[in-house]
């Protein structure tokens, strides 16, 4: 199982590789425009500045025998932006990138004969076998980033049905309580939080909620807190205990979230997952692996494993 890490600048390559990263994904500004998902931090911080930088970065990563993918996964890409990408296809290919991550079906359709390997973004929310079949048969996709809100049972079902395909699963950092396509926070967020000058872009999941009904039919008033608590999911989310299942299911790569994050934070995340994979190699029993991984989390991040922010909480629910 490989570790897939975000990378935002050339200087990060060596420390991230040293920490244990096997693969990378990056964004790029083409004519100062961003074509990947919107980041909370500034676009410059989470994107390479242009094709010159991309070529140098790819060269360095390849020299270390690692892979690197280019994220062009903004789902809101319009036909004009698609044309910009198509005009720059030669430059993308010449960079030597291993594949492009796409989150928009129309763009995927336009690029399916480009000769570039297409990786289906998590924005396409793959969590059933028909989505895998659709992406594979219609767009020749051979690698898919699975949805964040997927169960271990669904991962098992999908990987067993498509053994020749590659799958990535989320492993640490950013979670979301809402399905991505369903999250329309702009409709309900207070105006001051939508100010584009803000250095951060607030997500609903980061805030506390309350249930204002005096009573809930059939349930105790104390349950209001449980319901409200289930609406939040701030950083840091983690799914490291599920490495145990991922190994059995043949997951190709585990994805660390965090373009735009500091190098120190990226290194820490990679080291944590690398150490957890090292524990896994020692063939502990399932319960022992969870216990050791939770301890490792505590030691690495100086806080207790917060099970309420687990990507795959099913295994401790019995």
């Amino acid at each position: 199982m490989k570790i897939l890490s975000p990378i935002d600048k050339i200087e990060e390559a060596l420390p991230l590789i040293k920490a244990g990263a096997d693969e990378f994904y990056c964004g790029i500004l083409i004519g100062n425009k961003n074509f990947s998902t919107m980041r909370s931090s500034s676009l410059k911080k989470s994107n390479l500045s242009g094709f010159g930088t991309l070529r140098k970065l790819v060269k360095l990563v390849k020299k270390k025998e690692k892979k690197i993918f280019l994220a062009l996964n903004d789902s809101f890409i319009n036909p004009r932006q698609s044309e910009v990408i198509e005009r720059n296809l030669d430059k993308i290919k010449e960079s030597g990138i291993d594949g492009i991550i796409i989150g928009n079906i129309d763009l995927m359709n336009r690029l399916k004969k480009s000769g570039l390997e297409i990786i289906a973004s998590s924005l396409l929310e793959t969590k059933n076998e028909e989505t895998v079949r659709f992406l594979n048969e219609k767009f020749k996709v051979k690698r898919i980033i699975l949805d964040r809100q997927i169960t271990l049972d669904d991962i098992k079902n999908i990987t067993s049905r498509f053994p020749k395909m590659e799958f990535e699963s989320f492993i640490i950092e950013g979670g979301c309580r809402s399905l991505i396509s369903a999250c329309r926070r702009h409709l309900v967020t207070r105006k001051e939080y939508l100010d584009k000058k803000l250095s951060w872009f607030p997500h609903l999941c980061w805030f506390d909620f309350s249930i204002e009904n005096k009573k809930i039919p059939f349930f105790s008033s104390k349950d209001k807190k449980v319901i409200a608590g289930r609406l939040t999911m701030p950083y840091k989310c983690c799914g490291a205990c599920a490495l145990f299942q991922f190994q059995k299911y043949g997951i190709t790569s585990v994805k660390i979230v965090g373009r735009g994050f500091s190098t120190v934070r990226k290194v820490k995340n990679i080291k944590f997952i690398r150490d957890a994979l090292n524990i896994l190699e020692r063939s502990y029993r399932e319960e022992d692996f969870y216990r050791k991984t939770e301890k490792l989390f505590e030691k690495t991040f100086h806080k207790k494993c917060q099970r309420q922010y687990c990507y795959y909480p099913h295994f401790f629910n019995g």
Partner: protein
Amino acid sequence: MNNMEKAIIINRIEDFKYWNRKYSRIYLGNEFCPRLLPRGKELDDIIKIIKKEKLKLTLLTGQVDSQGLRLMKKMFLYLTKGRILDEIAINDYGMFGYTLRKFPAIKIILGRMLSRSIILDENSYFYKTGLRRVEYDNLSEIQKIKSGNISYYYPYSFFYNSRYCPVADLGHNKLKNHGIIECFKECLRIGELKVNSSILAQPTILKGNAQFIKNKTDFRSLINFKINRLIFQPHVPV
């Protein structure tokens, strides 16, 4: 407004109390949770009413996992065998691919969950593969589409749908992150909840695994958006 097709969402049989002759089309199903799909006798009784009243039928589908996909396929097959299904509203790429593959004659509609994240033009893959209609529940999100049909859901806009249902199994499981688990349809007993937070511009409505706001719609303005179908949600559609 007179030329506007009018439809009503029927999540379960008791929703027919909101139906009257002005609604010539039924949207049957559930976009937010496949576990709430009507089944068995309830489904049969709904179909009887649809046939008796000679109503057009759109199957309303949401995002589905493997289990939800099985349920959707079963319902889909049942309705196509009964030859009463006219359209399917899609909110999951797997359901889109499945419909194209297995039921190419069924009209496909892009549901309100997927429509917001796809910028459509005439050359879109979706139109080329037979997409007939695009649906929205918020006027601010309606795209200027040169051709094609547009539907508008009222009075509720959803803004959140989770597989970590906040009320699932509430009687037994008090964990804040209980995961994606089996439930006892607690949402139907609890009903609507009012949610507030410092980030929210207004309190919202939570029901089951989805959240909504209620819109005030100026129906006279709908003509400017080339809307030719109105879909009434008699209650928060969960």
